[in-house]
Subunit: 379 residues, 2 copies
């Protein structure tokens, strides 16, 4: 009897929790102005709603899972996902087989398209919240690339006060997005500007310029040859000289850092190791240059032997930093693991950061930037 | 017989023209990277395509008209619109009753939502083309408004060279969007930065700063009272002091202009007439403050009699400029017409510009900015 009562009590308690979670749905912070849906609840469930009176089937497609919505008598389809991880997620709706953005959200470039995004509030959201602190600016910088023979664009964060004291020079962090993303990612879903604003206001990071370029760069196509990435050349020969001309930078290697996420981590590691005269600090967020190979790294051949002399690496690199979410796919666990093993074997100093309960997603990278930026330019 | 031949010839000739137009569809410049559709042809027709295998009915909704698409055996729906005016248009798709953005385009804020936009190349597109000239920057400026008790944002264009010579001070144009648009409109679909870059490079306009704020501003809601717009207070008491602090401005009235489109034209006319100590030039693009009333204007009462003394207005305003598309809806023709009649009657000097073959749309406003900016700050 007591046992039965307990079960009833537990069921009742569970029902109450569910009820609270059901009733505490709030419009997402990524919604378009005035839009009620999508909503997120305290469990991290995402609830969407769309008028589609003639549709046969409408689904919410998020986190690799499709959830069927149900239609009411007015033709409005509504439904919710399972709980999602904290942080930012790309998603879409599927209406009778058409994959389309949810007209309720703002749009973000990721997964190779401009599409819907949603924010599940995180415990540590204060790190990247818009607060009453001095704010830097994010500027669009257009430039013509002679290498790619095309107009390109980067975004440049200048710290609070940059425009006021026009004599101060600043160190620069070059910060790259991942695959199927672009130069808008870090300042939009990455919230890089707010992270820096908050760190600088708290005296946790030194004021710095952050340059966010597009990691896809190819020479004009020649015949049927597969286009070869020339991002390294564009960054070294075009972007850095442009930034050092257009902005008040400290232009020596000690005051220049480079970091990236996923594909960007891979790219920027190659770039710093090829150009140690240009950069003194590296950050790899959810990625390393041995990707996708998780075998033991042979330092004699890996990146042309650039990690073979561990002491030389230690001498030249001030901050060597790696970050990874605890819920990342196996391939990242294994490849970053193999890379760390190599660093240990070579006696190379590095910092490793684990982002709790996050996958290969933007909360991992926001946290990584938050941690990494605090270590820069402090020697 | 000759007559019949002529008809055949005409039909044949027409068919050829149609055939050329059909075959010269090109991906729109507003497409997402790598997307083939939507396309635009030389007639200005818009052709869209979307995979929606289970849908019953799919439509293209552009220019207030819905066009049915047709489905092929693969489930891909395709169809085209009638010829559209040159310039930029908002549009959407309708899938079984759901109004959604076209996943092929980039997204723009207008018509009260972030949604699809398409560019029909105009004869005078060089005015706002991205060219090999020095480019200014567009920066995001966050600020907390004590009046609205909310974070707000404006975008600020600084001309080429702003960061290089850090002693030069610049005049400022405050430039406002229309109803159901926001602070992103002028630098995105308006191409204000490219228009200024091109004018400055051609020595047609003096280098100036352009500030693009959000015209919607309300005090925190109090009870059930209808919120009262406080944009004028925000602009005068918060935005202008912020800009004069953050940027190297010439901060006297002679070096400050204000302009807006549609609702923004209405708002900014009120603002300059209430603050002639702050601004010396006005531009009204497709709008005037008598809107929606097209009756003869009584200058004794209109805007508290601010136009009653025509000589005083002439003395204080350097440039009084009005622009209108030749295909604008009747209400704008009539209200702007009534306003011009009042100016004539009062002997107030003004410039009137007609944008050929454009309606209440962005090409009218791009052209207006192109003309208006050339007249500013030249006394």
């Amino acid at each position: 009897m007591k046992h039965a009562f307990s079960i009833v009590a537990i069921l009742f308690f569970t029902a109450q929790i569910t009820c609270v979670a059901q009733s505490n749905y709030e419009p997402s912070e990524t919604n378009q102005p005035g839009k009620e849906y999508p909503k997120v609840n305290s469990e991290g469930r995402v609830k969407v709603s769309i008028l589609a009176p003639e549709a046969k089937k409408v689904q919410l497609d998020i986190g690799g899972v499709k959830y069927d919505l149900t239609k009411d008598s007015e033709g409005v389809w509504t439904g919710e996902s399972a709980p999602q991880d904290e942080g930012f997620h790309y998603y879409q709706l599927n209406i009778d087989g058409a994959s389309v953005p949810d007209p309720g959200t703002k749009y973000y470039y990721g997964a190779g398209r401009w599409g819907s995004g949603i924010e599940v509030p995180a415990k540590d959201k204060e790190k990247y919240a818009l607060k009453d602190v001095p704010h830097g600016k994010v500027s669009e910088q257009l430039y013509f690339s002679n290498i790619t023979q095309a107009w390109r664009r980067c975004f440049v964060y200048t710290p609070p006060g940059y425009n006021k004291d026009t004599t101060t020079e600043y160190p620069v962090l070059y910060l790259q997005h991942g695959s199927f993303e672009d130069e808008t990612g870090w300042a939009e879903q990455g919230k890089a500007n707010l992270i820096l604003d908050n760190l600088i206001a708290a005296n946790k990071a030194v004021p710095m310029i952050v340059v966010m370029d597009n990691g896809y760069a190819y020479r004009p196509s020649e015949g049927s040859a597969r286009p070869q990435s020339v991002f390294e050349e564009v960054l070294i020969n075009e972007v850095i000289p442009l930034i050092d001309t257009e902005y008040r930078t400290k232009s020596d290697r000690e005051h220049r850092a480079i970091a990236g996420l996923s594909m960007g981590a891979n790219q920027t590691m190659r770039i710093i190791m090829n150009h140690l005269d240009k950069f003194a600090s590296y950050g790899g967020f959810s990625g390393t240059s041995n990707y996708p190979n998780s075998d033991e790294i042979d330092t004699a051949t890996f990146l042309d032997g650039k990690f073979h002399d561990g002491d030389a690496v230690n001498e030249q690199i001030n901050v060597f930093w790696l970050g990874l979410g605890t819920k990342e796919p196996d391939i990242f666990m294994k490849t970053v693991g193999a890379f760390k093993n190599m660093l240990k074997k070579q006696g190379i100093d590095y910092t490793f950061y684990e982002s709790e309960d996050t996958a290969h997603e933007w909360l991992t990278w926001r946290r990584s930037l938050y941690e990494y930026a605090q270590l820069l330019f402090k020697n």
